[in-house]
């Protein structure tokens, strides 16, 4: 305790009690009250007098030539205001996140089941639906290119995009590929160094983001000939960048405002209805609202890449990894979307958080006539984690070692090198995270004498009374990068304004960050409070009036936009001090903003902010760029490609009914290093949500695609975990600061989705002894009835 009794010091101590609503606290969401009252305006809630409803006609075929489109009957329907095809597009007909290969409306051919061909605007959604049915399309149906073998043999099976229309980085039907070699690579000599070798083929099904709020928005034509779009998205500026050329408008005439977003998980990173609604609004001169039905949502956004993987690992007899040989084939579907970046992640993270002296890796994404795949939580790291963690268990078994010990023995830590040659320059507590989940108390064993059947696999269906149930435990750990990689100049912009409102100092934070439920708005207010020492913070609606915030993805928003808010707030603070020095001749260089006052360590409180600001607000904008990365070398995969890594470990306890083939996850424990928990309540919520999506991938979630056709585009047939399927998820949060990140924080949202799936599969294997090389694990895999 301080013994100094200077008056100023005491004042300082009184006001220094840091606000519980600053960083490290868990203040409640600023939008929480509106959300529980039903007053928060999601994009599907928007309404405009005189508005029309837009709808798309979608292809029933995965691959076909369009012989003709006849819209005349649709146009005749009373209440129909417009029917548009690609011929009505004023500007560029193509768009795309990385490669502009996707037509805004199909031209001459369709490449996937559900591709949009024509648009309708009508005065009632039912009128629009009927009009869509009246559009006559004549197709020449072609055999879809859907398997890896077909894709890789275009001579025989054809091209998804003809070579002359290729806009990809790859060749044939390969959209993108990345190789990686480190150490000596994997040669016969290297193989000979290993005492044991295990290999396996693994398969991951197509998962969907399945956010609850459907794709939707309202496009309002503006007097200046531009468009105002109110939209649920992950990145306002990249939408605008893709929209403007298609609409043949300068970017400044395409103004986007974020409407309420009902979850995203990567599924809103691509354009869905943005261009369609805007085209219809510009064409009709009326506001147009589009709201996808659930089946349309399944057709209208990209999914997680399904994967086929081959892994081979060699180790010494005492468990030290010697080499890893990996091949990862991702099905990217009809259009590139984010496939190139997903491949980069799979290649560079696909060996897991382990030190492996010799690595060979080849990752590719294919073009096919399957649904397009792109960003989803975990982004290329998820598929690989199922592969390498399955291998770790196999290796442990072969060596007769404890699977956690084997992982810990090979775990990377700070100072180690990635196979990309990048040195890990911040904490990497992989072994410790594993230890933490291992040390957590286990749930009590199943008590068959005192049974609530609702707790059994199959739960409510009263399918068993406990006979045939075996319990298993499995472990896993995963690695994920944070932020955009491979040389992308990833940045975010924030504007912070400090002014007096109603006699109180109030900070306003304005960014273009998409709040998709992750809690960025809460954290931004916390940062402003901490930096500016004020209680009142308002969050300006996110729109394109301020610079880009980048995407709400890659676990990057708190790091990037949070960092930008910090920079802007610090600049405002310096401006406050500069103003005070100029006006009052302050000479202290230990100034701070605390409790609404300018304070000096040595001289105590100097002036209330209210008096200093008067009616002259301070309003400053700053950009936050993370340190530069470089692209991976095409052939060797070498390079400082990722800005930050994040790690999560899991332990799953499962009960399996081996007669019914049903699995119930009893408990799913997580331990994650978050660097610094800016808002512990939200951090834990993110980790639990991420674990649950991983659970879905492990045991239930898959878009079934047969011959290029989606068979289960509904929540009846595409199952996501309910509260009955989801167990308690105890979370242990570690805070080891990253010296390169704002406040030392580490991106949080994705790591648990990378790591949790393999732990559940490992637990099922332990319970049943079945190999399980494909996820999701289905009842038929467990009962042998496949």
């Amino acid at each position: 305790m301080s013994t100094r009794t200077i008056q100023g010091q005491k004042n300082l101590q009184d006001i220094k009690q840091s606000s519980p609503d600053g960083i490290g606290g868990s203040p409640l969401r600023p939008d929480g009250n509106l959300k529980v009252k039903g007053e928060f305006a999601y994009s599907s809630d928007l309404w405009h007098e005189d508005m029309l409803w837009g709808m798309a006609l979608r292809s029933p075929h995965p691959r076909a030539n369009i012989v003709s489109v006849d819209i005349s009957d649709a146009l005749k329907l009373p209440g129909v205001y417009a029917v548009l095809t690609h011929q009505d597009i004023p500007g560029s007909k193509f768009y795309g996140l990385e490669i502009q290969d996707q037509p805004a409306l199909a031209i001459d051919k369709v490449r996937y089941h559900g591709e949009a061909i024509a648009l309708v605007a009508a005065d009632h959604p039912e009128t629009a639906r009927r009009a869509v049915k009246k559009i006559k399309v004549e197709y020449e149906v072609l055999t879809p290119i859907v398997t890896e073998e077909q894709c890789l043999d275009p001579e025989t099976h054809g091209y998804v995009h003809e070579p002359h229309e290729f806009k990809s980085h790859g060749y044939g039907n390969i959209c993108h590929e990345q190789k990686l070699v480190s150490g000596l690579g994997v040669t016969d000599e290297v193989r000979a160094l290993a005492d044991v070798i295990v290999s396996g083929e693994y398969e991951v099904g197509m998962q969907d983001q399945a956010f609850l709020g459907p794709e939707s928005g309202l496009a309002v034509p503006a007097e200046d000939g531009g468009i105002d779009l109110y939209i649920a998205t992950q990145w306002l500026h990249v939408d605008r960048q893709q929209m403007a050329p298609v609409l043949a408008l300068p970017e400044e005439k395409v103004r986007l405002t974020l409407a309420g977003v009902g979850g995203a998980f990567g599924g809103r990173e691509d354009i869905s209805m943005q261009i369609h609604a805007s085209l219809l609004a510009l064409h009709t001169g009326k506001p147009v609202k589009i709201v996808y039905a659930r089946d349309e949502s399944f057709y209208g956004h990209v999914h997680r890449h399904p994967a086929r993987m081959h892994y081979e690992h060699g180790a010494t007899a005492d468990g030290k990894l010697v080499f890893a040989d990996c091949r990862i084939v991702l099905d990217g579907g009809a259009y590139a979307s984010a496939s190139p970046a997903v491949v980069g992640n799979a290649a560079s993270l696909g060996h897991g958080p382990y030190v492996i002296p010799n690595v060979k890796m080849h990752a590719i994404a294919l073009y096919s006539n399957n649904p397009s795949c792109g960003a989803m939580r975990g982004f290329g790291a998820v598929q690989a984690a199922f592969g390498y963690e399955s291998q770790m268990d196999k290796l442990a078994e072969k060596l007769g070692m404890d699977p956690v010990e084997l992982r810990q023995l090979n775990a990377m830590s700070e100072g180690d090198y990635m196979p990309t040659g990048q040195q890990i320059d911040s904490p990497a507590p992989v072994a410790e995270l594993l230890q933490r989940v291992k040390d957590m108390p286990l749930p009590p064993p199943l008590d068959l004498t005192n049974l609530d059947v609702r707790a059994l696999p199959g739960a409510l269906s009263n399918t068993s009374h406990g006979e045939g149930i075996v319990r298993g435990i499995g472990y896993s750990v995963g690695i994920k990068n944070v932020g955009f990689s491979e040389g992308f100049d990833d940045y975010s912009t924030a504007r912070v304004r400090l002014e007096v409102i109603g006699g109180e100092p109030v900070a306003m934070v304005h960014t273009a960050m998409a709040e998709v439920g992750q809690g960025g708005v809460t954290v931004h207010a916390q940062i402003a409070r901490t930096e500016l020492g004020v209680e009142q913070v308002t969050i300006h609606p996110a729109n394109t009036e301020v610079g880009s915030a980048g995407s709400t993805s890659a676990s990057r928003q708190t790091y990037m936009t949070g960092g930008a808010v910090k920079l802007a707030a610090e600049a405002v603070k310096q401006e406050v001090f500069a103003r005070g020095r100029k006006r009052y001749g302050w000479t202290q260089n230990d100034l701070q903003l605390i409790g609404g006052k300018v304070v000096s360590e040595s001289a105590g409180a100097l002036i209330p902010l209210v008096d200093l600001l008067g009616d002259e607000a301070i309003d400053l904008t700053r950009e936050h760029h993370h340190r530069p990365t470089v692209p991976f070398d095409k052939e060797t995969g070498q390079g400082f490609g990722h800005v930050q890594y994040t790690f999560c470990a899991n332990r799953a306890v499962v009960d399996v009914d081996v007669e019914l083939g049903l699995v119930k996850v009893v408990e799913l424990t997580a331990a994650q290093d978050v660097g610094k928990a800016l808002n512990p309540l939200s951090v834990v919520g993110q980790i639990q949500g991420g674990c649950t999506q991983a659970l879905g991938l492990a045991v239930m979630e898959e878009i079934i695609v047969k011959d290029g056709k989606v068979r289960n585009a509904s929540f009846t047939d595409y199952l996501i975990p309910t509260i009955l399927d989801t167990p308690p998820i105890p979370v242990d949060v570690l805070e080891l600061p990253d010296p390169n990140a704002p406040y030392g924080l580490r991106g949080v949202g994705e790591a648990p989705t990378v790591s949790a799936t393999p732990s559940i599969v490992a637990a099922i294997r332990q319970a049943t002894g079945i190999a399980l090389n494909r996820i999701p694990v289905r009842p038929e895999h467990l009962t042998g009835t496949l």
Partner: protein, 161 residues
């Protein structure tokens, strides 16, 4: 057709309703109550749950014509008279059970109904009662917390007069 019913205690009417419209559509697009959400419109997700004559139903599965002269209570009707949050609403906010919040209106109605019939539900009771309401964001842990919190506060308040 014209449909008249009571929504959150107030009489409402909607004109020119097409026979195929659902109660959900009428609430959201015709009578200015967009609080109930449209996540699947197939009875699978529970986001559109409202009380119909005191019983929680998926409003997307109720034809508009069926509510003639009946009573509907939506999430907008769960707040107190003075606009303060209702007990279940407050518990969801306090527990951090709201992320994107799209599932929240339906969960609030379903939780309200659960606590009405069983003020002290066990964890399995809660899971059973809420199993028709999907949430994609939270992992349900904080929803469990919210319901337990609401239950504790309900019990602390004593039985309703």
């Amino acid at each position: 057709m014209r449909v008249t019913f009571t929504a959150n205690g107030k009489p409402v009417e909607a004109d020119d309703v097409w026979e195929g419209e659902s109660l959900l559509y009428v609430l959201r697009e015709r009578v200015g109550l967009p609080g109930s959400k449209n996540a699947c419109e197939q009875g699978e997700c529970g986001s559109c749950t409202v009380y119909l004559d005191g019983v929680p139903v998926c409003s997307c599965l109720v034809a508009a014509g069926q509510v003639q002269d009946r009573e509907v209570r939506t999430v907008e009707g769960l707040a107190e008279e003075n606009g303060e949050l209702g007990l279940v609403q407050q518990a969801f906010v306090d527990a951090g059970a709201v992320q994107c919040g799209f599932c929240t209106p339906g969960l609030l109605v379903q939780t309200d109904a659960l606590l009405e019939r069983e003020p002290q539900p066990s964890d399995n009771d809660i899971r059973e009662a809420l199993s028709g309401n999907l949430c994609r964001c939270t992992g349900y842990e904080k929803i469990m917390d919210a319901v337990r919190l609401a239950s504790a506060r309900t019990c602390a308040k004593g039985p309703k007069a």
